[in-house]
Symmetry: C2
């Protein structure tokens, strides 16, 4: 089974975005602006939104299951307030739940958290618990910068985040570190903010003892880890200069990278420098880059092709495509057994 | 001749930092705190500070000339105010000038700019001109985030920066895009802020028409371009999705990367995906990572060894080590001729 650990519902029916627009307009209208009713989306609309996109691409590319979450760039934690973020997250997560119920062999859910700038991460624990215990989700996306590009929350290694980590550990679910849109004109969302957040989170982990406090806490750093594998020697050397343990010992029981790197040389480097046990197949489809690479004739984000091109043993391939995901997301196996997959 | 395009005076005599400490203390004391007198540093102290560091490493590694600038992490544009930054920059640049005068075959100068948050970049043009015309410098380091990690200046592609670019074009000198220390606890300076700034700047250039306005403006993006080469496919795809020209046409007459990537697989990737004409040899020594890699037995930042290990033709090697730097920094050749090197 080939498990794609990184897919977002970027093709959700238009009623979802219409709801969001109305919700934010009502918020801007102040206390007088009542929030709109929940969006009405039929099962057929959900099926249509996936059929010519994620499901078609799964078939064409030969992948089986996508760990699926709400559109990351639309989480928009910097918009509205805690109540707005809470309702928006619940609606987005409920929609993912419906996707997973309609296509239980194709999708398994990961939730958006109702983060909001200045609001304690503890307030996100209830939605995480609801999604895991009631909706069968297997993880969450955690935004290290709910301000959307101003980076004024404490680092992920600060005790500020600990109550949420306690809940993650209790539920035995990992988080993908994933920012949302950028409202800072310096940072293009998918071309800079996403990658910067990945690099930033890794270096925060490197300089902290977070995983002494939470030995079973697990993070997936998407987009191949941002700049980290390309600068693996720099990070090894920084750890050494800072008198930290080697990266393997310090981080690699807790930190994983996906394969959302859109060319073969990048995937080659990733799989050369990062231990294969720490790499999870992912494509981010349908996501950041939608075009076809004229050099290859295939979609940039068809990352399975790059991995297929590597001279890997069958057992290593199985780790990348399946076993590592099952290990990092232990609820995945339970979930698949429940649907007979 | 092997030219290292990226070296900072990280080993300057202690009197320099003592001056800075006193300067900042006086600033914090308010208008009553008079700035201290300029630091007194003898030629012998300068010689000593280089002999067992940069000069020794040049000899050991077989490099000839370092394009040398004040310590980047100490630029501290976020500290003090315009007047503090202006005096500090002048002192740091004058010290580089003395280094270059003492060792004209080993060092050529690049200046720090007296940037300060909220101050128009135009105010840095005079110091740039002084350094180039009076001190014989061949370029500058430009900080895209003088706030030190809050990223509240306009992007590098905003007209805000244009008066400085006009001066760069007039003088025919490039800028290395280089942030300084981070006062944002989210960003470790050398492990996150530096790399994020590199990625951020590249994506700003990708989404703008800056080089239509300034066809001869040139930037070196250090640290191998941050995350960019590792994600070259992503950036090619983003340019395509955004209906921009191919990267080669859009950026590669104006944007260059150095080789400050501290392991062989990273250098291999860089030289595989980025055209060799756009890569300048650099080491950042003595800089971000000072240790010896136990796997190789050599310094992480001895980047010449990685390039030596590549199967490059002699002509390509010469481009990387020398010709590209002479092309990007045209005043370098003039400078070298002046000292008979």
């Amino acid at each position: 089974m080939i498990i794609d650990c990184h897919g977002h519902y970027t093709t959700a029916p238009g009623a979802l975005q219409a709801y969001r627009d109305t919700q934010l307009a009502a918020f801007k209208g102040g206390a007088g602006g009542a929030p709109p009713p929940d969006p009405r989306i039929s099962d057929d609309e959900i099926r249509d939104s996936l059929e010519q996109a994620q499901l078609k691409l799964q078939r064409e590319r030969g992948t089986d299951l996508t760990i699926f979450s709400p559109r990351a760039s639309a989480m928009g934690h910097h918009l509205g307030d805690e109540s707005v973020s809470s309702r928006w997250s619940r609606i987005c997560n409920d929609l993912i739940y419906r996707v997973c119920k309609l296509f239980p062999r194709n999708f398994v859910g990961v939730c958006q958290l109702p983060q909001s700038p200045g609001v304690p991460p503890a307030h996100s624990a209830a939605e995480l618990e609801r999604c895991v215990r009631e909706l069968g989700f297997i993880g969450c996306n955690l935004n290290p910068d709910p301000s959307g590009g101003h980076w004024n929350s404490p680092p992920l290694t600060d005790r500020h985040w600990y109550p949420l980590y306690q809940k993650m550990v209790e539920l035995d679910v990992p988080a993908m570190v994933h920012v949302s849109a950028s409202c800072n004109p310096n940072f293009h969302a998918t071309g800079a903010h996403y990658l910067n957040a990945d690099t930033t989170a890794f270096m925060q982990f490197l300089t902290s003892d977070l995983f002494k406090d939470f030995p079973t806490l697990r993070f997936v750093i998407p987009h191949g880890g941002g700049a980290v594998p390309f600068h693996w020697g720099r990070f090894r050397g920084l750890a050494q200069d800072l008198k930290r343990p080697p990266l393997e010992e310090l981080l690699l029981n807790n930190v994983y990278f996906d394969t959302c790197v859109y060319h073969l040389p990048g995937i080659e480097l990733l799989c050369k420098v990062v231990p294969l046990d720490n790499i999870l197949f992912g494509s981010e489809m349908v996501g950041a880059v939608r075009g076809i690479d004229p050099r290859s004739g295939h979609h940039y984000d068809d990352t399975k092709r790059y991995i297929d091109a590597l001279p890997l043993a069958a057992a290593d391939r199985e780790r990348l495509f399946s076993l590592n995901a099952r290990r990092v997301y232990p609820r995945l196996t339970v979930r698949l057994a429940a649907v007979g997959a």
